[in-house]
Symmetry: C2
């Protein structure tokens, strides 16, 4: 057996083990009784430990050293990604990995209490330790990968775009937003204030509708489930996708748009190429790309005028209530300055990300001390959105990221939103009847286009290369800004 | 670290990995969409392969060789069980293990079709290969463990009782049955023929009742779930038990008695000693012991006069139908000669097991050729129950056991039923108010007694030793026969 063949077998074994962990993660969120939590944590730790042992086995390192790059570009990229995964798994001293894991775990626990009490001081030492250890890891990883420390973190979530690419794009958006936000608010005040009829909206009807809309968007429920969990997500594996949501009987749109968002993630996974299943090159390209696939459904397609008209008809019939497109627009396309990222609208959301992107770089480099974070957050937030958080629970304590050791993840949200707009514009151009399809509630021409240009490409390319191949250019915020201008800045 | 300490860590790791597999097995039966089946099989294979690698690692063998038996009897028994598990995992040549696994898998697949068509000839060569390979394995395992080939198989399901112990007990039961069965039928014909009111019995009400009765029997649903699957079972792990059942709207008793049966299994797992969690000595003592715990609930307690009177009241109220204790007795304590083991009543069930116990020993030794199985089955069945199967689907093709490679498992069912009666008699003696508790629907005094005498003992003892400690004697069929005489042979 060639070293390459053996590598492919070993990486497939690791991926299969990780699939088992993914299913158990879904179960923990959607099914597990509380008494199972501790044992589940131990099961996950054993699976992660075995996965790490397989990836760092000396024989695997020898095969990586011996393998010669194949001519086939997919196979060559696969080898590149194997080497990168191996470097990431082996570059850090074991003591540092364990110290980081302990520090993140401890910090996250303290944060849960500190956030409730809005007590940043309580978690400050733990967060300082997380940044201290992450800084050391990022320096070592960066040196091993030929990247800056921050890029070494950022690229573990999304390859093919760096902080130096994102920074000017985000800065340009800041300028756009300063002008656009007051305009959008002014226009919005003059528009229809129509609201949805009061509830209750029965959970069973919501659930049936969510499943129907998800299936209509192309999700194959012979290889997927829809269940409930406290925090909606898309989990499972390529042939066994597990979407979750939560239902609010006062508001059906939260579950419906949530499920359509997760359906975007799910379709990406379902359409990955089977030929490279369980190989590094056969995985989704990264978190920003993944987010582009959920947001192109949730934000671009579903919130488009054409689809909202269709959705109003569907909802009115299902709930037997007078639900109009105007009410859906008011509810789903409403701009407001708010403190909490996860509740933000699509126009102001990038400001939340931009702030975190700048702060986490400054914290990582040491330019900003952890003790100065609350002040820097509040000043930065006011500069971006003109309002100041009333307390740290509405400021620097709101997100689990950082406190759980996830640094370099935040940019993915906005890179994904911008890519979604760019891809949607390209799809509109390639599919002249797209508007009519959306008006008929048919998302399949769009998702088929995505399957061809994004999903089936898996990890063949990094972020910008993938956009270049699909749309003719690297990430360009113009499409996103044009989308927002068209949706929020016209009367 | 001592070799014993290291062994305990390694066995805990293996057990944790096996817990992950148990959860995925539950998911496959209760949740998984059909598209996930192939990947799930691969995930299970990787987990089983890693578990086997950990158990057969050279370093573990060195620790086993180096460890000196500790003074503490639990720790000493734990080491004994570690060595036995290691011997079972390493005694067989890899080629033979793989050939057996392939042969069983192929045979099971052919059997599924052959059973539907009642075509024994179609599966005969595959079954002959299964017995051929199992014979080789049993000889090697028996030599390694100091057991006969059949006992080497039988003890992998239940330690502490051998074929030579079971054979005279089963033969005695045959004599008992020849006299008891016609008597029971004659008496039964003279008794009330009252039937349950016609359905439908709403699934939702059945499910709520099942959960209520299971909780009342002591199952802690903070560490358990009740779900649906095609074939009811009790899966999951000690702190996260997963019971399943299926509902028939024409007949609520199938789900209710089924869930109470699984609750017996579940309570055993929930009450295993936490001090020996994930160690071999901390596991349930075997399949016969496990079956005794489900049957003592389902057959001894729930079908007792006192509990049935309570159950009739509960059911009548829940379904708002005139359900009487007499109808429950007629439905749940009805004797009949039938061909299918899983549908048999408690009086005739041992005959089904006895036949299989004799035949599988003859097949394994080679005294009976696989080609002669259908004839031997039908002759044996007629000798035991006086009726002859109309075809092999109602005869030697009915059970998956044998065709999936499980040989030596069948005795567990009847050993369990007999042990259940023996334990119930001991509990009646120890708990004078047990009848009153059952009449009030309170199973907890019984299950607390079981927790103390059986569950908390885990694998400290083998089957007969455990019964000896709990009841004062080894397995003695007298209690079972007395129970049956009292229930079926009195007017």
């Amino acid at each position: 057996m060639t070293s390459l063949k053996r590598l492919q077998q070993n990486f497939a074994r690791i991926a299969t083990l990780n699939e088992a962990a993914a299913m158990l993660g879904w179960d923990a969120a959607a099914m597990m009784p509380p008494g199972g939590a501790q044992a589940r944590g131990e099961q996950m730790a054993v699976l992660a430990g075995l996965s790490h042992e397989l990836l760092t086995a000396p024989a695997l390192a020898e095969d990586l050293a011996a393998a010669t790059p194949p001519a086939d570009p997919w196979a060559a990229q696969n080898l590149t990604l194997m080497r990168e995964a191996h470097t990431r798994a082996t570059a850090l001293p074991r003591d540092l990995v364990e110290a980081s894991s302990r520090a993140s775990s401890a910090c996250e626990t303290i944060w849960r209490t500190a956030r409730k009490a809005s007590d940043f001081a309580a978690v400050r030492p733990a967060l300082a330790e997380v940044f201290n250890l992450t800084r050391q890891s990022a320096q070592i990883l960066g040196a091993a990968l030929g990247l800056s420390p921050y890029d070494a973190l950022m690229t573990q979530y999304q390859r093919g775009i760096h902080a130096a690419d994102a920074a000017p794009i985000f800065a340009g958006y800041e300028i756009f937003l300063q002008k656009a936000l007051p305009q959008a608010e002014e226009i919005q005040n003059r528009q229809s204030h129509e609201t949805l009829p009061p509830g209750p909206y029965a959970t069973e009807i919501q659930e049936a509708l969510c499943k129907q809309l998800s299936a209509a968007a192309g999700l194959n429920f012979a290889s997927a489930r829809l269940d409930r969990s406290a925090h909606p997500f898309c989990g499972g594996t390529q042939t066994d996708i597990r979407i979750t949501t939560r239902y609010d009987e006062a508001d059906p749109l939260s579950a419906i748009t949530g499920v359509l968002h997760e359906t975007g993630h799910a379709l990406y996974e379902q359409h990955l190429p089977t030929a490279w299943r369980r190989q590094p090159v056969g995985q989704a390209a990264g978190m920003a790309t993944h987010e582009s696939q959920s947001l192109i459904i949730e934000m671009q397609a579903v919130r488009a005028d054409e689809f909202l008209a269709h959705l109003a008809t569907v909802l009115a019939k299902a709930f037997n209530k007078p639900i109009t497109a105007a009410a859906l627009k008011r509810r789903l396309r409403h701009v407001s300055r708010s403190f909490i990222r996860v509740e933000a609208d699509e126009l102001t959301y990038p400001a939340h990300v931009l702030l975190r992107f700048r702060l986490e770089q400054a914290l990582l480099s040491g330019d900003l001390a952890v003790a100065d974070l609350p002040g820097a957050w509040n000043d930065g937030f006011h500069a971006l959105l003109g309002i100041t958080p009333p307390d740290d629970a509405h400021g620097c304590l709101q997100d689990i990221h950082w406190y759980d050791g996830a640094i370099g993840y935040f940019p993915s949200y906005t890179l994904g939103a911008m890519a979604a707009a760019q891809l949607f514009a390209a799809a509109r151009k390639a599919l002249p009847a797209l508007g009519a399809h959306l008006a008929a509630g048919d998302l399949s021409p769009l998702t088929n286009w995505l399957a061809q240009h994004i999903h089936s490409q898996a990890s063949r390319f990094g972020f910008n290369e993938l956009l270049l191949a699909a749309t003719g250019e690297n990430l360009n915020p113009a499409a996103f800004e044009a989308h927002l201008a068209s949706r929020y800045l016209t009367t």
